[in-house]
């Protein structure tokens, strides 16, 4: 028998830990880029590796080798720390997501709250990062990021609590266990799933909600001053955010690792691909909203609908 310590170390570093997550991050970026390219009648990544599957990794390496500039006016220490913090924060919640079997690496009662908290922290970090880089475009982008957070945060957290109430637990692993008999929350709370998807698009800052980094308006907004290694880390963090978003959709609403068979990583992977497909498809469908239109829409429609959904859940549970 392999000692338990070694299994734990292997789990943290190999599967489903760092190595697996990094590969998954690059894979998810490739999938997203390829899908959007197909929707837009383009080829997408093509040359590095079969079907361009290694392109995101090549881009990452290339960015690492680029010149890394810290603007003279920027607040040095927070500016340099920001990408590192961002990557860490984007990666941490993934350890609470069950990938192998029914329970995650870090699983305790209330880990859903931790995930929510970290997602909010990421949004705040964007704002701080924009502020310390003291560029006019990044300031505008940072303010937009902050405003956008005020918009999508509340409905997002409400619909994440929906399944928790249904399953009677605040642990993601418990929620998956509850769904493992095929009682997926996407069937009982379809409205919640739709709202979660929209809010996650806003959290990921992709079209139609790429308002904080609108390239044609404010030159990629809050990340305009980040270059070289910092940009590479931020882009990697964005891939982790995409994995987290797709994982939350699968885990909370689609039964996560559980399926027809024993809970296994393959089921999780297939569902993850489906969720990335949904997100990428939506990304290719719309034009960008303006920040005031976004806020008005969120407060007028999304938040009341999210409240309605959770009220229905409450009534049914009672």
């Amino acid at each position: 028998m392999v000692p338990e310590e070694i299994t734990a170390i292997l789990q943290v570093f190999l599967f489903p830990g760092f190595s697996f997550l990094f590969s998954l991050a690059f894979f998810v970026e490739w999938l997203d880029r390829k899908l959007v390219a197909k929707f837009q009648n383009r080829y997408g990544p093509l040359h590095v590796g079969p079907k361009g599957i290694l392109q995101p990794f090549a881009d990452f390496i290339k960015l690492l080798s680029k010149e890394d500039i810290t603007p003279a006016m920027a607040d040095r220490v927070p500016f340099i720390a920001m990408p590192l913090l961002m990557l860490t924060l984007a990666m941490t919640p993934l350890f609470c997501i069950p990938i192998n079997g029914c329970s995650a690496l870090v699983s305790f009662e209330g880990d859903l709250i931790v995930v929510m908290f970290i997602m909010t922290l990421i949004a705040l970090l964007l704002f701080a990062g924009a502020w310390v880089s003291t560029n006019r475009f990044s300031t505008v982008g940072g303010i937009r990021a902050g405003l956008q957070m005020f918009g999508y945060e509340i409905p997002l957290n409400i619909v994440m609590i929906g399944p928790a109430i249904g399953a009677g637990s605040l642990s993601i692993s418990e929620i998956i266990k509850w769904q493992s008999q095929g009682r997926w929350f996407i069937i009982t709370q379809p409205l919640g799933f739709a709202i979660l998807t929209i809010c996650l698009l806003a959290h990921l800052q992709v079209v139609p909600f790429d308002i904080p980094e609108a390239e044609t308006e404010i030159v990629s907004g809050w990340l305009v001053e980040f270059s070289g290694k910092k940009l590479a880390l931020i882009r990697l963090a964005r891939n982790f955010k995409l994995i987290l978003a797709a994982s939350l959709m699968t885990s909370l609403y689609m039964g996560g690792t559980s399926g027809l068979w024993q809970p296994n990583p393959l089921t999780y992977f297939i569902k993850l691909v489906v969720c990335v497909f949904i997100l990428s498809n939506l990304r290719a469908l719309f034009a960008r909203f303006r920040i005031d239109q976004f806020l008005a829409g969120v407060w007028r429609y999304l938040t009341p609908l999210a409240l309605l959904q959770i009220s229905i859940v409450e009534v049914l549970a009672w």
């Binding site: 929707f39 837009q40 009648n41 383009r42 006019r136 505008v140 079209v207 139609p208 790429d210 308002i211 609108a214 390239e215 044609t216 308006e217 404010i218 030159v219 990629s220 290719a284 469908l285 719309f286 034009a287 960008r288 909203f289 303006r290 920040i291 005031d292 239109q293």
Partner: protein, 390 residues
Amino acid sequence: MKTIKIPFGPQHPALEEPINFIFEVEEERVVNVKPRLGYIHRGIEKLAENRTYHQNVYLIERICGICSFAHTTCYTQAVEELLGIDIPERAKFIRTITAEMERVQNHYLWLGLTAKETGFETLFMYAWRDRETILEVLEMISGKRVNYGMNTIGGVRRDILETMTEQIEDKLSHLEDRAQYYKKICTKEQTILKRTVGVGILRPRDALSLCAVGPTLRASGIPRDVRADDPYAAYDEVPFKVVTYKRCDVASRILVRIDEILESINIIRYALENMPKGPIQVKVPQRVPKGEAVSQVEAPRGENIHYLKSDGSDKPVRLKVRAPTLANLPPLCKMLIDVNIADIPVVIAGIDPCIACAERVMLVDTKTKKRRIWSGDKLWRYSCEWYRKK
């Protein structure tokens, strides 16, 4: 309320060409805007004075990469007026057909760019994919995708053959279907409507007093079009209607252009059917008689004016180009007032700017920040003095 100044350009992802705007912004509203040209001046007017009339045709073609045919038509018309010759009927029809094809490709290009400014990348990709169809047609006729080299003084250089007509018709019907589809999208799709309806208003009165031209003017409900008002080439023999929309915003600018695509396709069809037989060019002398001529052409972006002065030699004394973008800049500044920062790119894109065509010399005294516009005479005298001192 304190305003902050936001620079926009000369390098900006929303701009294809360098131009600088300084926006004074109150919260997110633009209260004042100052445009500044001068980053891409190429001195084509001066160059034209050192070349013969025939060489100039190929230089003039390069004023603009997109509406190159409109510029050469304008120039050759001016030369032909000075020479006092009438070009063959068939050449007039071929000029009309090529000009309309150019309009179709320009409007598809513009639709894609505007979609990109609103963040709608998929529409951008689709519009540009469909633009390839008309570029293929142009390549079949002229051998080139842009800068066709079709015009020459006294007619056109290449004929449209019978064998091409069928292929052209195939591609035109495809383009027509696509244009109908984009019209449906641009009137139904909510995210596009949200970004374009009521944005960048230009009232008819302002449009007239600030001398807006082309689709920008027609989107303010004023039916003014050189093709109909002062027909050139074969436009007096081809029936078409001048498209106008009355909403005065970016949405109506989109619809004007999509409807113009459809209208252009009808013009091309009619002209192909009714094209008379005969020669496509006449021989012209090298030397042009003394005189002045002004020629107007409705380029895809609006009214294009060329002024030409000749002293009887084989080189022009003066060529003055008034590209449509220059006329549309003052209305643009009017449109930009009271616009949200997020809407600036789409409003600028709304006039279909082509900066390089519009560039003029302006001198800025760096110490006093004073700006002066110099006449050719003064510049010439200044350069003489400068060299004498050296």
